[in-house]
């Protein structure tokens, strides 16, 4: 029997399958590329055939695309990323006190005490300190993002890069590149700028007590981990499944939701991988709000609508 967790984030979509012992059996990490539905289908087509629908006991969704994903797969729990990350970290180690999480478009800090979330903060408006910014810079420097961290470690003298704003950071980097600084120094400078920005902005005024977990896609970057340890003066732990902690957490939450309900899962099955989904968007002109409505069609039949303020569209479709 298995539990399925799906985290639809801005940059990646992560799918995990947990066994009864809450161990990760399958882990799929795909780039969302702005197409959440197709990405989930792609993940399901990888699982289909290897697992039967009946073997799935519960399914949960999280991440910025959790609503749509939850509807698509028939989720038992649809939960925000903060709670999902906290649950996964606590499952691994009950003594974790601080979670630093940096994803594609969000960065957050979660403070825990005695196994509950006591405080959290997220980046407000700017994505300067997040994964997609690093991605963009890696692309610009033509260095694969996977090697970014190793480059940073090679540097002897970091260059100071402005970290507060993505636009400033990029022009600062370009100016320093033009002066001839080697890529490794610039990348280390960038890593330190990201950490500085995170600690001064997202984590400002928050207590950062050990044990500290570093989660999210950016945790794969050894350069950033090292910069965190240097800035905090203490060990930062990157869990083995740091990049899919959200999906692990929401799989656990879904399991508990089904158990609490004493019911069966609402999972719609892996067959949705074969359906043809089309999403249209249009502007509703019925009032001056001019909501942007997203209409999802499965094999030509409208199954869901999102995006309206009044509920006229989203409540219209009879949901199975």
């Amino acid at each position: 029997m298995y539990y399925l967790g799906i985290d639809v984030g801005s940059v990646s979509t992560d799918v995990v399958l947990l066994n009864e012992e809450m161990e990760v059996i399958e882990k799929i990490y795909l780039r969302t590329k702005g197409k959440p539905i197709q990405t989930i289908q792609e993940a399901f087509s990888l699982l289909k055939g290897r697992y039967k629908d009946e073997e799935i006991q519960a399914v949960g969704t999280t991440g910025s695309g959790r609503g749509m994903a939850g509807f698509l797969v028939g989720a038992d729990a649809i939960k925000n990323e903060i709670t999902a990350h906290a649950v996964a970290a606590l499952e691994l180690d009950h003594e974790v006190r601080t979670i630093l999480e940096i994803g594609g478009q969000d960065s957050k800090i979660i403070t825990l005490k005695d196994g509950i979330v006591t405080d959290f903060a997220m980046n407000t408006v700017c994505a300067a300190g997040t994964g997609s910014f690093l991605d963009r810079q890696a692309e610009r420097l033509e260095i694969p993002i996977e090697q970014f961290g190793h480059y940073a470690l090679q540097s002897q003298t970091p260059v100071r890069i402005a970290g507060r704003c993505a636009v400033f950071a990029e022009s600062d980097m370009i100016h320093k590149q033009q002066l001839g600084y080697p890529p490794s120094d610039i990348i280390r400078g960038l890593s330190e700028a990201l950490v500085r920005n995170y600690l001064n902005n997202v984590a400002k005024g928050k207590e950062i007590a050990s044990k500290i977990f570093f989660q999210g896609g950016v945790a794969a970057n050894i350069g950033i981990k090292t910069a965190f340890e240097k800035a905090l003066g203490t060990e930062v732990i990157v869990p083995k499944y740091h990049d899919v902690m959200g999906s692990i957490g929401v799989a656990i939450i879904a399991k508990e939701a089904v158990e609490k309900r004493k019911g069966k899962t609402k999972f719609k099955g892996f067959t949705i991988a074969q359906s043809k989904f089309v999403s249209n968007s249009f502007e509703c002109k019925d009032c001056a709000n001019r909501c942007e409505i997203i209409q999802v069609l499965e094999n030509g039949v409208e199954i869901s609508c999102f995006g309206d303020r009044c509920g006229k569209w989203s409540e219209k479709v009879a949901v199975s």
């Binding site: 910025s64 609503g67 038992d76 729990a77 939960k79 925000n80 990323e81 903060i82 709670t83 906290a86 649950v87 606590l90 499952e91 009950h94 969000d106 005695d114 196994g115 509950i116 979330v117 006591t118 405080d119 959290f120 997220m122 407000t124 408006v125 005024g205 656990i252 939450i253 879904a254 508990e256 939701a257 609490k260 009032c287 001056a288 709000n289 001019r290 909501c291 942007e292 303020r309």
Partner: protein
Amino acid sequence: MKVGIPKGLLYWKYGVFMEVFFAQLGCEVIVSRNTNKELLNLGVKQAVDETCVPIKIFHGHVASLKDQCDLLVIPRVMRMAEREYICPKFCGLPEMIKNSISDLPMITEEPIYAQNLDQLYKSMEVFGRKVTKDKRKIKEAFHKAWKAYEESFCGIYDVGYKMRVALLGHPYNVQDSFLNMNIVEKLHDLEVGVMTEEVVPRREVNAYANQLYKRLFWTFARHCYGSGMYFAKNQFVDGIIYLSAFACGIDSVVIELLKEGIGHFPLLVLKMDEQTGEGGLNTRIEAFIDMIERRKWYESNVSSSRECVHGS
């Protein structure tokens, strides 16, 4: 005479006063519609780029009204309490409007001093004379308007909820449901009640504000800080959500003061701008409410039992 009143900024607090005043003078009062995407787009197009989104929205309201009325109320609010100030954008509002929007009808450009009734009357008399020469009529309209204002209550005081949060911030951020993406309804959907600063007695607001090491001379900063402290210190709510417009200078100060003042009391700051995607907002609200729920649960049965961690 047709008088247009834009439904933005301080309308959310003193709209009733203006409406009754001009209606009593025999004017036809036209209030702009609730904020919507059209008005937002209109405002963003007209207003200077660097200003905050509530000011841009106000521009939208003005632009939507300008061809329907003979007199447009663009209040230049200078002062609302003795020895206090309000955001400079209010003092310069008519200039911003005049220089950004063309073909305006007559507007109320004269300053409004509202630190006491006498001052307010003097300010309003100037407006009244644009409509009538009859001083007695103006006085009468003023008193009726003031009475209507005093009898009105624009705040929110929810009862019967297991959990309640205080919604703080400049009144237009808290009251304009388009700007704040209908946060009150979102909270109600999560079975959370709402309280706003209007609930807190003025003497309490002042008492907390006066405890600061330096006199807080921004009127809205006083209200937000004082009421936030009152809510937190008396455990009148379970958490505070602070709605702040991106780039608001006053909020940047108040939020830091409030964070320090309330200590570990749950506080969530939401930044608002032109975005209409609700995902980010929903995530933050949901996680905040989750956190409060678990904290409450934990405080009422202090236990390190593993089960407390999870749940749906």
